[in-house]
Amino acid sequence: MMNFDAIIVGAGPAGSSAALNLARAGKKTLLLERGTYPGSKNLSGAAVYDLKMLEEIYPNFSKEAPIERFLVKKDIAFITEEEIMQIGYKKESFAGASFGGVTVLRSKFDAYLAEEAVKAGATLITEALVTKVLKENGIIKGVIINNQDIVYAPIVIASDGINSFIAKACGLQKDFTTDNFSLGVKEIIALPEEVINERFHLNGNEGATMELVGSVTGKAYGGGFIHTNKDSIAIGVVAQVESLENTKLKPYELLENFKNHNAIAPLIKGGKTIEYGAHLIPEGGYNCFPKLSDAGIMVAGDAAGMVMVTGYLLLGVNYAIESGRCAGETAVEAINNNDYSAESMKTYETKLKECGLLDSFKNMRKTPHNLVNNKNLQNQYPYAIVDIMNQMYSMPEKPMPKLKKTIFTVGKKNQIKLKELVKDIWKMGGSIGW
């Protein structure tokens, strides 16, 4: 019979961070991973932000973690079938520190995070799928692995990812609806380091990332991204699931069109696709959080829907690690007090609030509905913005009109309704502006 202080289901960023905190406190910690190694089932862009927080949890993170590149350049772009308009930011004073983000390859990165937990004393078992949560009189007793092995612990942390079967089995998860999820498809394209540096205007281990909205997703909602790794480029399309259903667009066709776009193709030219992948993203934000804890259980990371969509940034890994830390710390306190009641587990929420995570999501709670699921913003405005540029430089009218007239002409051409525009600006502002 195997007894532990806590069992963590899923060795992704959330689970490994929870395990690390428990192990550091000297608790008997079991970290379970269904894949053959941590990271083997995990996929995201992957840009990871909030280096400050990461350095606090993982001292020497910047030096020891398997980081591909340090982000110094960020582009946001509006793209149509034939045009692109980019807004770029670059931090030139690069001296071993970025503006806060790095790019990683998840299979390496997640393996590193799990290894840190193991080094601190956690027990990692791979190829261990939790098939049941054991309860007695409503109290969590442990889990069953692979339909046969029983392991006991008074606390289970569900960090089993987006499809969290554990949170569902424990009655914490709400019913999923397709408008709250996006599907991401991605390719990793190998290119020599020097070629990437030339194409993206980078030096050494500087990295660039790009997010694009407009024709990338056709009439579906979402966008595209490009991240530079050391000697590869991650290129992907993220599209909201309900809109994919309605448009019948195929995710890999969107990705193929994106790769073949005249503005994008030169960036990946000559590169070889070395990996393809897909992953669901919980984009519902705060309103779609499950019940975060109950007696003997906490939910962290993707399992808890902790991915933030702001339109200019998509954040998940940092919140997974931070929520994992909060869950781990809560578990340590519960073990010390020998109190696994629902009340005791509520400390998790207090900690999520203290570190700012909960309020970050509360602040941005309207973005999923107002930005991601906004038809005009997705399908109309990017075209109009790019068209304004076109009008300004192609000089179609003589005498040269003032900007107001150009904007008016473009608005009319793109069938933008002033009333809706004002409403959308108000909505966008209310979501991310004020």
């Binding site: 083997s40 390719e187 699931v241 994919l244 019948k248 995710p251 890999y252 897909a278 669901l280």
Partner: protein
């Protein structure tokens, strides 16, 4: 046409003898939209020759869960431990 199979060849799989995706053919008959056909990023669902039912494979599944999200009648679980897709340490 995108060659999805070619993309899947870039991945490493440990294939189980048993499928972790089970479709309900009767439900497929009644389903007009059949979102699974277009949405699966691994193209694991195809229309049967009768034009009404769906045939599925599972070997190339990326384990994203999208089919399970768009179809309430199919049963989907993670593959048995040790099986399924492996994203490699490229």
């Amino acid at each position: 046409m995108v060659n999805v199979a070619e993309k899947l060849y870039t991945l490493s799989y440990e294939i189980d003898a048993k499928s972790h995706i089970i479709i309900d053919e009767k439900a497929c008959l009644k389903c007009d939209k059949k979102p699974c056909l277009n949405i699966c990023p691994a193209e694991m669902f195809t229309l049967a020759s009768d034009g009404k039912t769906v045939v599925n494979s599972y070997e190339g599944c990326l384990e994203c869960g999208t089919c399970y999200l768009v179809c309430k009648t199919l049963s989907w679980s993670y593959p048995r431990a040790g099986y399924g897709v492996n994203f490699r340490k490229v």
